[in-house]
């Protein structure tokens, strides 16, 4: 197997790790919606915190994307 073929397989494998971030974000948004249902007054605050939380949970997927472009 030459180096180029191995590099392409590596690129494909690097993108597998992104599905974990999808599960994590879905869980986070679900919990945020539940909290908004229980306490509708705080909806604005909860939504803002949720957006920040989603950006943080996205960061491991972004590391995988950077690794994809580096290989």
């Amino acid at each position: 197997m030459d180096a180029e073929a191995a590099a392409l397989i590596g690129k494909g494998l690097a993108t597998v790790s992104m599905f974990g971030s999808g599960i994590g974000e879905g869980y986070l948004i679900g919990k945020a919606l539940e909290a908004m249902g229980r306490n509708p007054d705080m909806s604005g605050t909860i939504f803002t915190r949720m957006i920040i939380g989603v950006a943080l949970a996205e960061s491991t997927a972004i590391y995988a994307l950077v690794a994809f472009f580096l290989i």
Partner: protein
């Protein structure tokens, strides 16, 4: 369209060297935004009055919103007053830098086959510098507030082993584990720098690459949607960077009291 030619490299393309410093494609924007922020600061000092005009009200609304955001994270009035100038400046710089690359026509100006303008935060040097600077400042503030012995005592907690073995052998062994956890905090600082810089760099750089690829698929309506998404992501990443730096600052200046309470 030739994908391999249009995609920007991870490395910035250096045009020439000037007194030993490389002038690359992102240099103009990096310093341009800095000069713009300084000039705007002077103009604000000079022209803002007690009876505000509409522009002043808009800027004050944005200032209050970001002050409340950082203040909610730090949870302490005086510390927010000390830290907000630095954290707010970082947030404003990243906000302008993320958005300026999306103005139409900006990325097309070229000189000798290579574009001369590039989003500054899509260059890993910028984001690494910002992250390293923020983490170093936080550690320097922690040293100044706690004193250097107490600061080093966080990473090499010999005092925990001493107190643990005074209580008994069982508590002493647990204290040895806490000693190694304290050593891992050193790696934690390095990880903070790497994660902050990579998150911002990855979001901006991958956004550019995906825009080029999307022009390859459908060149008509869809890139406009991706442009709106890039705008949103740019603003969001600035807020997330500032919020994380604020929370690291809060952790660095409060940890001593919490751990002392749990010791007794």
């Amino acid at each position: 369209m030739n994908i391999t030619r249009d995609i920007t490299n991870i490395e910035p393309h250096v045009f020439f060297s000037f007194l030993g410093l490389d002038i690359a494609d992102s240099t103009i924007f990096i310093f341009g935004i800095l000069i713009f922020m300084i000039i705007t600061g002077f103009l604000i000092r000079k022209y803002f009055s007690v009876l505000p005009s509409k522009l002043q009200v808009a800027i004050e609304v944005a200032f209050e919103a970001s002050h409340d955001l950082i203040g909610n994270i730090i949870n302490d009035e005086e510390k927010t007053k000390k830290a907000f100038p630095v954290i707010g400046a970082i947030m404003l710089y990243i906000l302008i830098a993320n958005v300026v690359g999306l103005l139409p026509g900006v990325e097309q100006l070229s000189f000798g086959g290579h574009g001369i303008l590039r989003t500054p935060t899509s260059d890993f040097n910028t984001t690494f510098g910002l992250a390293l600077g923020a983490v170093v400042i936080i550690n320097l503030i922690a040293i100044k507030e706690k004193g250097i012995i107490s600061y080093l005592g966080q990473f090499f907690p010999f005092h925990l082993i001493w107190k643990g073995f005074k209580k008994g052998i069982g508590a002493g062994c647990i204290a040895v584990i806490e000693f190694f956890i304290g050593l891992l905090d050193i790696i934690g600082e390095v990880v903070k720098v790497v994660s902050l810089s990579l998150r911002l760099f990855g979001n901006m750089y991958a956004g550019q690459i995906l825009m080029v690829i999307m022009f390859g698929f459908i060149a008509f309506v869809v890139p406009a949607l991706w442009l709106a998404m890039s705008l949103f992501v740019g603003v969001l990443q600035a807020i997330v960077f500032a919020a994380l730096v604020a929370s690291y600052y809060m952790l660095a200046t409060t940890t001593t009291e919490v751990s002392e309470e749990t010791q007794h």
